[in-house]
Amino acid sequence: MRCHPVKSVLWIFFCWGLALTCFSCAASRPPAPSGPSSSPGADAPVSSDPGAESSDWYDPFDDAAPSDAVSPHTPIADPLSGFNRAMFVFNDKLYFWVLKPVAIGYRTVMPTPVRKGIKNVITNFMMPIRLVNCLIQGKGAAAKAEVGRFLVNTTYGIGGLFNPAQNYPALNPPDEEDFGQTLGHYGMGNGFYIVWPFMGPSTVRDTLGAIGDWAANPLTIIRLSNADAGFLSESETAWIVRGVDTVNSASFRIGDYEALKEAAIDPYEAVRDAYIQHRNSRIAR
């Protein structure tokens, strides 16, 4: 039996994701109803603490988003922290040794309008992922905005190279939806924290979401329908698009990761907390 190597890797990835979810559901259920865990003082949840101390950090603008907080100071369960910290170091080196120098070189060579154009084309091309997730979440206005923006930018924006739709609020959905957010929207918790090599911070839920996004990705559909782009095979095209997207997006965000890291006392914990807070805020939107 012949099997495409990329497909088999993704298949393993999918099975692993499924196994993790089952594991996380099994692992996260029991402690929930049993209330405060074994160490009562430190782990008491903030919300149930009626004492005067809790009002010291009361924040009326802090949306009570569905939280996976294990305790006031641990935003999410991290049973794989050994593996995750190792992958964090790996991704950190990958960024400083490979992606950042490549992105800086790319930024030097490519004028800003060209980089913007590439960004616009890729964003426009990936519209189906966002549209599908708007529809599943029942966000009609956002779905209309996605379709409208796609039509305007594909025609007046010359295949998505320009973004004339940005001047019309009705054509700008409030968020870029993805499957991880859709699962969150329907009440699925994060599970636990995972740092993937190359792809970075994620959770069990967002890993499953990434598989959904892969399925809704137009490149996947092109690949499955075996539409070869001339001299490039369909999978080569997909990897090239992915590579260009990674370097092109990074070229706009050089310095952001450095800033977050420098401002942190413990960069691993800072990134973990920032990832969870950021995802929660997008699901709440």
């Binding site: 924040d59 603008f61 800003t112 913007k116 006392i265 800072a270 807070q277």
Partner: protein
Amino acid sequence: MNPRFFSGMVLLMTVWLVGFASTAMAGDDPLSTIRNPIDKVITILNDPQYRAPGQESRQRDAIWDTMIPLFDFMEISQRTVAQHWNTFSKTEKSDFSDIFSRFLGNIYIDKIQGEYHDEKVQYLGQNFHEDIYAEVKTLILRQATQIPVNYRMLKNNAGQWRIYDIVIEGVSLVKNYRSQFASLLQKNKPTGLIRILHEKVAHHETELVNPQPEKQKK
């Protein structure tokens, strides 16, 4: 008359009028409380007088003096240390607040100064809660992205609005430091945490001093 001179005059008048209006209005409104200093910082960042060699630290001081009064660092400290705050003695509380404000000021002002690429700030509006809490929503407009930044403010006893948290792309800085400090305070006493912050600040300040002579040589 030279049209350039004329437009210059109009610009000068507008700046003067806006400046006048803002000092007259200064007071109750959270949005204008932060808008004026932020706009002033952008002016400082674009000001050619600071582009000359050796002017970096003067520019830094100017930004510092404009921004620092906007923050309530005691409130920020209390909120980041959260449930451990009562284990701090009175002197530890003020020591912590002092060093944490220096830590935050150093890092963020350094970033603003070093990474400014003509970003614009758009003010989206303000929400109130119970008359003493306010959230001012802004967007930082970059080349190809927009970064939502919300300033959460509390009215102090003197009736001034002061920032107690900044939320960037949905990430609250107070909550981010809270989770880091909580795990540090499980292993360290308050003095230990204060020492760690002192080390961070000292490290950052030596880094800040060392590369500067090289830049000035050019």
